[in-house]
Symmetry: C2
Subunit: 236 residues, 2 copies
């Protein structure tokens, strides 16, 4: 029984500004009796990356303040309905409310997206690789809605060590035919799969993937390879 | 090391009209030395479901014939650029070229989407459950593009035995705060995860998931629970 194995890392406490996520991850992994193997992939939720990077701001819970934060984090509003705004962030993500986590109003704070999630992924990967001597890859994930379908899914907002979009154009399929237009956003499929073992109400920020196919490993960034340019987009 | 395990089922040959997919699946699973356990989830690609259901039509490879097939399979064209058409199918899926697989022009055929993928999922599930005595769930998957992001991902087009959208609204998060608006499209996350072990060029149509959380199991359909009504949609 080969295949892919995905498991969560438990026992991670609250994260604050300046925390060393790689150390925290490795300590929690060891505490549950696991260790990283060569070509494992580690996913990290954007929320704890943002918290470690100090991307937490005061938030008074009002609609006015919310609009102000969204304005600050975005370069363009695409649609607005009631208190929902679909915007394009400075990174180029199209998402609701600029990806700001506004659910912590009890604390009087809001959590922004990391400033440069691809860089965050590269840093976390470098820290882990230096500490363990293993080659691994890293994804930073967040939860976005979709246009045509109900419900949210987790997607990749930063990557290091994986090919964000696997280009199968020109490769023969199982019947020897050439596949026409198949570029697969494997990092988004991985991000969604991570959510299956983490869940949203558990507070688990890390998952480990073991057994992803060798052709997934490579280089590239979410910003360069995964975000559709407005000029290529039929709905913006 | 708990978590989720996903594995492909190999050794499945070409599928034709009238083939019994449940028997074919179970024979291939047994041939690789595996068997289904209680609460496993089986994913099936829409292409072999369509082939088994006889949803294969002649296709002469011309743009005119392509347009005619897309017209026949859709109720509305949302956008058109060059030879790409984004349409709403009769099921309500918004996708390119009505989800028709036009890549088999060597054969002079095209493969349509199953007529009612939720029904196909229920039938496959029933056949498997009767044959094995196990409670399982089933997803039919297909490959769709996204509006804002490059690359395709696999999504669910039919489901039986899972809650398509898991509603976490009103449940407390790890810090005891109430999650505001979190309805998770778990079946799309599962479909994408299946693609990670199947790939597009391998011709593998079946994956098995073991270890999905108990709260994922339930009822509902893709058509009723996952497709966004045009009236709820900010971009149609």
């Amino acid at each position: 029984m080969s295949g892919l194995h995905i498991f969560p890392v438990t026992g991670v406490g609250p994260i604050g500004p300046g925390d060393d996520l790689a150390n925290i991850f490795l300590a929690a992994l060891a505490a549950q009796g696991d260790e990283l193997l060569e070509n494992d992939v580690v996913t990290v939720t954007s929320k704890i990356v943002a918290k470690a990077e100090g991307r937490v701001v005061d938030f008074d819970g009002t609609e006015q303040h919310k609009d102000q934060l969204i304005d600050q984090e975005s370069r363009r509003t695409l649609r607005r309905r009631g208190s929902l705004r679909i915007v394009e962030t400075h990174h180029g993500f199209v998402c609701a409310n600029a990806g700001i986590d506004l659910s912590n109003t009890n604390d009087g704070t809001a959590v922004l997206l990391p400033t440069d999630p691809d860089r965050s992924a590269r840093r976390f990967r470098g820290d882990i690789e230096r500490a363990t001597g293993r080659n691994i890859a890293v994804l930073i994930t967040d939860t976005f809605g979709r246009v045509w379908r109900e419900g949210v899914t987790d997607v990749a907002i930063g990557v290091a060590g994986l090919t964000p979009v696997l280009d199968l154009r020109g490769t023969p399929d199982a019947n020897g035919r050439i596949l026409e237009a198949t570029e697969v956003a494997i990092v988004d499929e991985i991000a969604g799969a991570a959510d299956l073992v983490l869940g949203k109400s558990t507070g688990l920020p890390f998952a480990v993937f073991r057994g992803l196919r060798p052709e997934f490993f490579g280089s590239g960034s979410v910003r360069e390879n995964l975000l559709r340019r407005a000029s290529n987009d039929l709905f913006r």
